[in-house]
Symmetry: C2
Subunit: 376 residues, 2 copies
């Protein structure tokens, strides 16, 4: 992790999923060349771009121009920004737009935006005509390092997050690292929580590298590209080992069981909490909970908290503005979370930095008393 590639270098991570294999390109200025890259991989010549109201004024024009220069006929749909867009209502709108554009099986849906746009349009791409081609152009750090890789798509319902969706791998991911310059500091930090997550799962050296180099990652340039490429490689490794989340892939949910409960408790209101912030608090909680169960040293939990705090992320439930519901309500949200099997709680716990594991039989009483203790 210490050998930094030159600033100009574009990085390629290949996700080797047999007939569903695809490339992730990471580097500056990729949107300008998107048409060429997509045309080289697509049989069809039509694309329906799905984006949001924040991203559209910044990058939609450039993407459309690049597609048209490569002889791909592009239509676009601009949706409201934010987590609430991951709904059945907007799914219907996207499917309708894709069908109106007469996108067929060899044509593509292109997601231009963060994880919200990626999850929603990937779902639509997976169900229109029982599956059309799909290209991710992730524009948030979180989507570049996490949501655009691996094929999980979906929407939220009043029962919880991501409870409805499909596995539908993209055919190409174009992570243009320049576009991160317009992302807010807060959203960049939120994405950084997922970068740190890969270190905490099973790459202690990467976590140590981040502790030393995080300022360079935030500043942009070579360290940023390196951190994104390392994250995509880490995610790819897990996905290839367990494409449909029957086992090892659950490790990617480190910090997410607590995080999702906090997102639900704040009604997905991004003014209070965004996904990556929930994950940051959740990862600290997961390390503390593991320490409480005598599985890991409390020093590791402290080290995680210190680093996430240094970059400016929230690390405690008390850091969330406004009132939180009581611990019992958080517990209910956890029980309805999709990582529950036959009534038993599945949790990602850890033996220390970079030593996470899947625990299948965590008693809910333990979780509840821990939550009560930590509740602000």
């Amino acid at each position: 992790m210490n050998a930094i590639t030159p600033a100009s270098a574009e990085r390629l991570v290949r996700v080797p999923l047999g007939e569903r294999a695809y490339d992730i390109l990471i580097g500056p200025g990729l949107i300008a060349g998107a048409g060429r890259e997509i045309a080289a991989r697509l049989k069809g010549r039509k694309a329906a771009i799905i984006t949001d109201e924040n991203v559209a004024p910044l990058y939609l024009g450039a993407l459309v121009a690049s597609l048209e220069a490569a002889d791909i006929q592009a239509s676009s749909l601009v949706l409201p920004a934010g987590e609430k867009t991951k709904s059945f209502e907007h799914l219907i709108t996207v499917c309708d737009a894709v069908l109106t554009a007469r996108v067929e099986r060899n044509d593509a849906v292109i997601a231009l935006g963060g994880g919200v746009i990626g999850d929603l349009s990937g779902f639509a791409a997976g169900i229109v005509r029982r599956g059309v081609r799909f290209v991710q152009v992730p524009t948030s750090l979180l989507s570049q390092v996490d949501s655009s890789v691996g094929g999980k798509t979906g929407i939220n319902t009043h029962h919880g997050k991501n409870l409805v969706g499909v596995f539908h791998q993209p055919d190409l991911v174009l992570a243009d690292t320049d576009v991160l310059n317009t992302l807010s500091e807060r959203e960049f930090r939120a994405g950084y929580a997922e970068v740190a997550k890969y270190g905490l799962i099973d790459k202690p050296d990467f976590f140590a590298w981040l502790e030393a180099n995080w300022k360079d990652v935030f500043a942009g340039g070579a360290a940023r590209i390196e951190a994104i490429a390392a994250s995509c490689q880490a995610k790819s490794d897990v996905v290839v080992a367990d494409e449909r989340e029957n086992g090892a892939r659950a490790l990617l949910n480190l910090g997410h069981t607590f995080g999702h409960a906090l997102e639900a408790a704040t009604a997905y209101d991004s003014r209070r909490l965004v996904h990556g912030e929930g994950v940051a608090i959740g990862m600290v909680l997961a390390h503390e909970f593991s320490a409480r169960l005598n599985l890991a040293s409390p020093d590791d939990a402290k080290r995680v908290e210190t680093h996430l705090k240094a970059v400016g992320l929230p690390t405690r439930m008390g850091d969330i503005p406004g009132e939180l519901p009581p611990a019992e309500v958080l517990m209910d949200a956890i029980a309805q979370d999709k990582k529950v099997k036959s009534g038993k709680l599945t949790f990602i716990l850890t033996h220390g930095i970079g030593q996470s594991f899947v625990a299948d039989d965590v008693p809910s009483s333990e979780v509840l008393s821990f939550l009560k203790e930590k509740h602000p």
Copy 2:
């Protein structure tokens, strides 16, 4: 095809799709034993039954009792009957019911009904938690011989039929041949069109057997079970050769391109036309169109029409009550049908009885003038 198995015999067709392989059980009284068969194949112990208002009063009680006797906790949702139920609106209702029943990945959605209920609930089973287990208990002849086998699920949109859906194979199909006794004569005939279809695709001996034995198939007993088992076997063979419809599976659409256009032209109004009736007319048209292109003898088209007419099916556009839109409008519906690739029309044509093939480059001008000629 001449050796008929004894009346009491239950038949088993196995669909050998690797890790997605499953059994189709065909025979009398299977609903009473459903709980046992399902419990033997399911890890979970919860099931959400989806059915319609016609089927529920007849068979829902027996199915619930059988599941509970096998220690499976069952919830039920009763939807309106008819093609209009295959909509986004009802999909949302089904997903909500499945989530409310807390069905997890190893639990099941059970479709109890015809192809409408099967297509809709199979879609929901494919997307809730990105896929839960799925059991088909088809109750119409059409669903027993066609829609419950092969994993195609979906709903309709105002752009056309089955344009949104997923491939999601069932884990078990239970075709109780007794329940067909309450099916209307008209719906039985409509399902019979799909039985005849398998003969016309590539089994001329089966078609000849049907010409000789169709009255026994309608009467019930051994000939009916035999015809259903032969149909399931034929469908399974095609599905195994091409699970995701990239090639040979398209043959199953014999008669369907015309049929779907007629369904759209009659606004999916079952008082005027049901799916199998559209297919019957469509198969006659496909044979006549092939004859017009000098690919087959007009005698074969005549033979198809004679048989379908004998069983009481409509065979001409003029048999549909009410006005049909002009040929140009039918042509538009065909062009928007999902079997269009890069603008060219894909049609299932034939060299004669049991000699169908996929034609990729049928000029739309030929189809249009044929439609004008046949228009009542």
